[in-house]
C-alpha cells in the first residue's frame, strides 16, 4: 500500500466502496451492517445555549462498522454533536442510543464505558506522562487493578501491570508508535500526538470512535496516511468511526454515509456522491469547486 500515491489509493477505495442501503428511519447504513444493530442512533437530538439552538432535531444512524462523516460550516454544531454523544453536554431534546443503549443519565465516563471514545478538536493528551502511560490510562476500564494490591505490591498488581504493558505496546505498534513508548506525550511531534489520541481512544475498546478534525494541520501526504489508518481501524477492530473534517479529500475518500449540518440542522444526508452534488451543500459549505475535488 505504501508505494501507492494518495490519489491511487483514493481511487482504489472508491472502486470498492460499499453499497449504502436506506433504513426505515430515513438513514442509510452500509449493506454489510444492515442486519446488525446500528452502533449509534440519534433521534431528534438537540441542545440550546441560552436560546441559541446549537443542534436541532438531529437524526442520524451509524452502522456497526461504518465510517461516517459529519461536515458543515464552522460553527454549525458538529463538535457540539460529539459533545452530546460523549455526554460532555446533556441534550435539551431527543435521545442518543449507543449500541441499543439509551445514554440518558450517563456522565462522560459512563458514556465511555458504554462504548464511545473520541479525540478532540484541540489535542488533549496527558502531556506530562509517557506515551505508554497515556495508552495505559486508556485501558483503565479494560484491565482492572485495585488500589490496595497496588500499594502493597501484591501479585495481582504485577499481573495486571504486565497485561497493561503488553496491550499498550500492541496498540502502539498498530500505529507504528512503539518507538515513542517512553517519550513524554507532550514532546511528540504534532502528527504523532494526533495519532496517540486515537490510540488512547482505541484502548478504551470502543464500539464507536469519534474523531474531531483528525487531519487538521496535516499536509496532504500525512492526510493520506491518516486515511489508511482510519480504514485499518475499522477493518481490524470491527468498529464504527464517525469523523468531523473539513478536508474534503479525506471525507469524500473514506466516509460511507455523510451528514451535513448547517446552523445546527441537518441539511443533507447521503453518500459522498450525493453530498458532493447537493446544491444546498455546495451553497452553504463546499463552495464552487474550481479544482478537482
Amino acid at each position: 500500500m505504501s508505494n501507492m500515491t494518495a490519489s491511487e489509493r483514493h481511487a482504489a477505495e472508491r472502486r470498492e466502496r460499499t453499497k449504502m442501503v436506506p433504513l426505515p428511519s430515513d438513514s442509510i447504513v452500509p449493506e454489510r451492517d444492515v442486519n446488525e444493530r446500528p452502533v449509534l442512533e440519534c433521534r431528534h437530538l438537540g441542545i440550546e445555549f441560552g436560546g441559541l439552538k446549537a443542534v436541532d432535531d438531529f437524526n442520524f444512524t451509524v452502522g456497526k462498522t461504518e465510517i461516517a462523516g459529519l461536515i458543515g460550516p464552522n460553527g454549525a454544531g458538529k463538535t457540539t454533536v460529539f459533545n452530546l454523544l460523549t455526554k460532555v453536554y446533556n441534550p435539551t431534546h431527543g435521545m442518543v442510543m449507543l449500541d441499543g443503549q439509551d445514554t440518558a443519565g450517563m456522565d462522560i465516563a459512563a458514556a465511555s464505558r458504554a462504548g464511545v471514545a473520541r479525540t478532540f478538536q484541540n489535542i488533549r493528551l496527558f502531556s506530562s506522562l509517557s506515551v505508554e502511560d497515556n495508552v495505559k490510562i486508556g485501558l483503565h476500564n479494560q484491565i482492572k487493578e485495585h488500589t490496595a494490591p497496588a500499594v502493597f505490591r501484591l501479585p495481582s498488581y504485577w499481573k495486571a501491570e504486565k497485561q497493561m504493558h503488553e496491550r499498550a505496546l500492541e496498540l502502539l505498534d498498530f500505529f507504528d508508535m512503539g518507538v515513542y513508548a517512553n517519550h513524554v506525550a507532550g514532546s511528540l511531534p504534532y502528527g504523532a500526538q494526533r495519532r496517540l489520541e486515537i490510540v488512547r481512544a482505541l484502548a478504551t475498546n470502543p464500539k464507536l470512535l469519534l474523531l474531531d478534525e483528525p487531519a487538521a494541520g496535516m499536509n496532504p501526504s500525512e492526510t493520506a496516511e491518516l486515511m489508511d489508518n482510519i480504514r485499518r481501524i475499522r477493518d481490524e477492530f470491527h468498529i464504527a468511526v464517525m469523523l468531523i473534517e473539513h478536508d474534503m479529500d479525506l471525507v469524500m475518500g473514506i466516509c460511507e454515509g455523510i451528514a451535513v449540518l448547517n446552523f445546527g440542522k441537518i441539511i443533507a444526508k447521503g453518500t459522498p456522491e450525493q453530498i458532493q452534488s447537493n446544491p444546498q451543500v455546495i451553497e452553504a459549505y463546499l463552495g464552487k469547486q474550481d479544482e478537482e475535488a
Binding site: N83, V88, F120, Q121
Partner: protein, 293 residues
Amino acid sequence: MGFLTNLINGLSLGSVYAIIALGYTMVYGIAKMLNFAHGDIIMVGGYVCFCAVNYLGLPTGVGVLLSIVACTVLGIVIERLAYKPLRNAPSLDVLITAIGVSYFLQNAALLIWGSDTKSFPSVVNLPSVSLFDGQLVVSAITIVTVIAGVVVMVGLTMFTGKTRMGKAMRACSEDRGAATLMGINVNSTISLTFAIGSGLAAVAGVLMCSAYPTLIPTTGSLPGIKAFTAAVIGGIGSIPGAFVGGLVLGVIEIFAKAYVGTQLADAIVFGVLIVVLLVKPSGLLGKTVREKV
C-alpha cells in the same frame, strides 16, 4: 439597637475587607496570581503613615499620601524584582515567590520597626455621628471607609471596563503573548496593575489601622487572608464582587461573634465561603467560565 450597632460594626469591618479585596482581585484578575504579599503591603502602608505622622510630624493627609506613594513604588519594585522573572513560570512557583515576598516584608518590617506593637493614630479626626440619643454611635472612620470602598469600586470598574489601559489589562490577563501581538506592553501593563493594587493596599492599610489601631509586622496577614476569602465569595476577578464579598464577610464575622460566640467566628466565616462556593462555584458575582471542548 444591638442589632444596628452590630450591623454598623460589620459594615465597618466589611468595608476594610472590601478595599483589601479590591486590590487582591485586581492583581489576581490581571496577573493571574494569588499575591500573598498583598496583606503585607498593607502593613507597610500602615507603618509608613505611622512614621510620617509620629516621627516626622507631618500632617495626616501628607502621611496618607506618602504611604500611597511608598506602597505604589514598593509594589512596582517587588513586581520587577521578584515576579517579573517568573512571567513564564508555573503558577505555584509564583505563589511560593509571593509567600517569600510576604516573609521578606514581615521580617524586614521587624528589623526596621521592631516587633513591639504600635498604636496607630486615626487618620480621620472627625467627630463620630451619634444617633438615637447616643444609643448608636457611628464613628467617622467607619463612614470614611465605606465611602472610600464605594469610590474605589466604582473607579476600578470604570477603569478596567472603559479605558484603553483597562482593556489592555484584561487582554494581558487572558493571553500575554496575544496581547503583545496587539501592541500592548505587557510588562508595563502588569506593573501598572501592581502599582494600582499596592496603592489601594496603602489606602486599605491606613483605613484599617485607623479603625483597628494596632500595628505589628504581621498586621496584614490575617486581614489579607480574610480579604482574599471575601474576594472569592464575591467571585474572584470581579470588582463589584470583591466589594460585595468584603461587606458580606465583615457583617457575617461581626454577627457570628455577637450571636454565636467569638470562638467560632472564623469557622462560621469560612463556612459561609464554602457554602457560597458550593451553591455558586464562581462566587456571588463571578462569571462561570465553561471550558469549551
